[in-house]
């Protein structure tokens, strides 16, 4: 891999990577079982630089912000490289947000350039808020021939001949603005520097190296910190290959492992559980004798890999299982949401280590990761090189709030000095997560201090962001909380959002009101829905400006009610 120490920015590191491995395959893109694109680093460079030149001619300058709203695909990475080449700041947005949310974050980030897939652009142009947009230039990918692009340009035609000029950036300059939340309330735009990414990349590849020939299956959205690092920057600075799938259908994901002989993949718990379910079902279908033999081999593999993984040995002991994953899989990564230890252990016993980790957008991709020396299913691993972690005010069990310091911690929240000051205190980022270090230096997580949930699909959901969905509900007042925030549980899992209702005087809770709640809840994407409601008998405490004092309200709820009072929806 490239030695990243001398580099001051991602653009320069990527530029050298493209020159160093011109003939290696860097990208494969498949739609279901049809391969659409296969590019060498040299091919990638040719397309990306003609785009960079067109951006330059469109007056795209150092520090200009360009947003990308796309599903995982080769054009995402080519566009990002073109932006970095021109010294720009990337604003990767979640393609699953609504058009109104996209417009809100485009506004907040002050992105003037936008690169977006056609179906998402169409939705944005139909949103009422579209008329207020401040975009200067929009590039739309894969637009049908006669589509009305509402003033946008076709990405595929936005090209200029001639060498673009490369714009160097300093390590402390902003590389990306990544939103960790805030679509409904206070936008949290994490300002991440080139140094944050270069240092994170160095730390991660020290433990899990990539090299030419390695194939990484990119399933998590590239706008997400994990895939941006291990599905783009990491593989590229090592000459490896990224495989994109345009669908997340489980059958095609399974097929991709075999078809492309995948080396690494990052998965959210939901996908990992889906794979586990599929494997267990297959094992159940085996005849009694074959199943017995398989179980014996799994037990043997388990005992021989107790101290560390032995991939070669496991492939020999359990050839059918490994063949089903393409035969080259070395590890799967997971993190963000709660992962059941039994699932992690299930895969490890088959000789497929799942490296569980912990991170947050505010501090780069990953703070801790399982180093597999030995594998531990019950922790989120050890701090990566260069990451300092502390547990603040530990209780009698050693559990306290986790704080982090290091070169991967973001610079600040965009345009929010107050929130930045609350979050980064004396150089330490206060994570809002509760944890404890065990005797071996592994971090164990025990829930959250902050009012949010992480879904099985790896999405961070903040209650404030979805409260607008219940605006106008015929009650006196309402508020949404994470259940584990109201009633702290020293465990992860069982995460759900709760709608707290204060009824009008003499108002009875009616079936009609319940119906209204259900209807509004269903307008939210499934992963953002509240799981239950709770009726509270006091007025909500409010500030002078009539904002709900959430902490004080949570305290009151905690005193009066317990979790059993929640009515599930």
């Amino acid at each position: 891999m490239l030695n990243l120490d001398p580099y001051s920015c991602l653009g320069a590191a990527l530029r050298d990577a493209l020159d160093r491995w011109p003939n290696e395959i860097c990208l494969i893109e498949a739609d279901r079982d049809r391969e659409k694109t296969r590019l060498t680093y040299s091919d990638f460079k040719e397309v990306a630089l003609s785009l960079a030149r067109a951006l330059e001619d469109a007056d795209f300058k150092a520090g200009d912000r360009a947003a990308i709203i796309m599903t995982n695909q080769s054009k995402w990475l080519m566009s990002a490289y073109a932006v970095f080449y021109r010294g720009g700041v990337l604003v990767p947005l979640d393609y699953k947000l609504t058009a109104a949310e996209h417009l809100q974050l485009l506004q907040h980030s002050q992105a003037r350039f936008l690169i977006i897939e056609y179906h998402l652009w169409r939705a944005i142009t139909q949103a009422p808020e579209f008329k207020n947009h401040m975009l200067k230039k929009v590039l739309v990918t894969e637009a049908p021939l006669r589509a009305d692009l509402a003033g946008a340009y076709r990405w595929e035609e936005f090209r200029r001949k001639g060498d673009p000029s490369f714009v160097m950036r300093e390590r402390q300059d902003t590389a990306c603005i990544v939103y960790s939340s805030g679509t409904g309330g206070r936008p949290k735009g994490c300002v991440l520097t080139h140094e944050n990414y270069l240092e994170q990349c160095k730390a991660l590849t020290a433990w899990y190296p990539f090299w030419p020939g390695v194939r990484y299956l990119s399933i998590l959205p590239t706008n997400h910190a994990i895939d941006f690092m291990v599905g783009f920057i990491g593989p590229f600075v090592c000459g490896a290959c990224v495989v994109h799938l345009r669908t997340l259908r489980p059958e095609f994901v399974r097929d991709a492992f075999m078809r492309y002989k995948i080396t690494y993949v990052s998965l959210v718990p939901m996908i990992l559980k889906n794979l586990e379910r599929g494997l267990r079902a297959k094992f159940e279908e085996l005849s009694g004798g074959t199943r017995f033999l398989l179980q014996r081999m799994i037990a043997l593999n388990k005992s021989l890999t107790r101290r560390r993984p032995k991939v070669g040995l496991s492939r020999k002991l359990l050839p059918q299982v490994h063949a089903g994953f393409g035969g080259e899989l070395r590890a799967m990564f997971t993190g963000g949401a709660f992962m059941e230890p039994t699932t992690l252990q299930f895969f490890y016993d088959l000789g497929i280590p799942v490296a569980n980790g912990y991170g947050l957008t505010e501090a780069g991709t990953s703070l801790t990761l399982n180093d597999l020396k030995p594998f531990r299913a019950d922790t989120v691993g050890k701090p990566l090189p260069g990451v300092e972690l502390r547990v603040l005010s530990p209780d009698a069990d050693g559990i306290g709030e986790v704080a982090v310091r290091g070169k991967t911690v973001m610079s600040h929240y965009l345009d929010d000095p107050e929130l930045t000051a609350q979050t980064i205190v004396n150089g330490w980022l206060i994570t809002g997560d509760l944890g404890r270090f065990d005797g071996d230096g592994h971090l164990q997580l025990f829930g959250r201090k902050k009012n949010m949930i992480v879904t099985e699909g790896g999405k961070n959901i903040y209650p404030e962001d979805i409260e607008t969905a219940f605006e106008g509900l015929p009650v006196k007042e309402y508020c949404i909380f994470a259940a584990n925030y109201l009633w702290p549980a020293k465990t992860l899992g069982r995460e759900m959002l709760i709608l707290l209702l204060r009824l009008e005087q003499n108002q009875e809770f009616s079936e009609g009101l319940k119906e209204e709640i259900v209807t509004r809840n269903r307008r939210l994407p499934d992963f953002k829905r509240v799981g239950g409601f709770l009726i509270f008998s006091n007025d909500f405490p409010r500030t002078a400006s009539m904002k709900i004092k959430r902490d004080a309200l949570a305290e009151e709820v905690r005193k009066k009610l317990d979790r059993a009072a929640v009515v599930e929806l």
Binding site: P250, M270, N274, E456, D526
Partner: protein, 80 residues
């Protein structure tokens, strides 16, 4: 071309069969994630089955935000 009501009925039957639940448990407007107790990946699995049945191809994003059979049937109907 299949009539919209017929498309919906066929989807309900296929879903009941796919997830091994009694057909009468499924209604067009209820949240199928909740009724069937499935996650979004299992819903994508069902979509694949429906594609085979109706011989259409729907990108994943067509299912985004869809959680009831009637909307799903409408999306499929436009491609028939």
């Amino acid at each position: 071309m299949t009539a919209p009501d017929e498309t919906l009925e066929q989807i309900l039957n296929l879903a009941a069969n796919h997830f091994k639940v009694p057909r009468e448990k499924l209604t067009p407007d209820e949240d199928f994630f909740k009724t069937l107790g499935i996650d979004s990946l299992q819903a994508l699995d069902l979509l694949t089955r429906l594609e085979h049945h109706f011989r259409v191809e729907l990108p994943d994003y067509e299912l985004q935000g869809v959680s009831d059979f009637r909307t799903l049937a409408n999306r499929i109907q436009t491609r028939l």
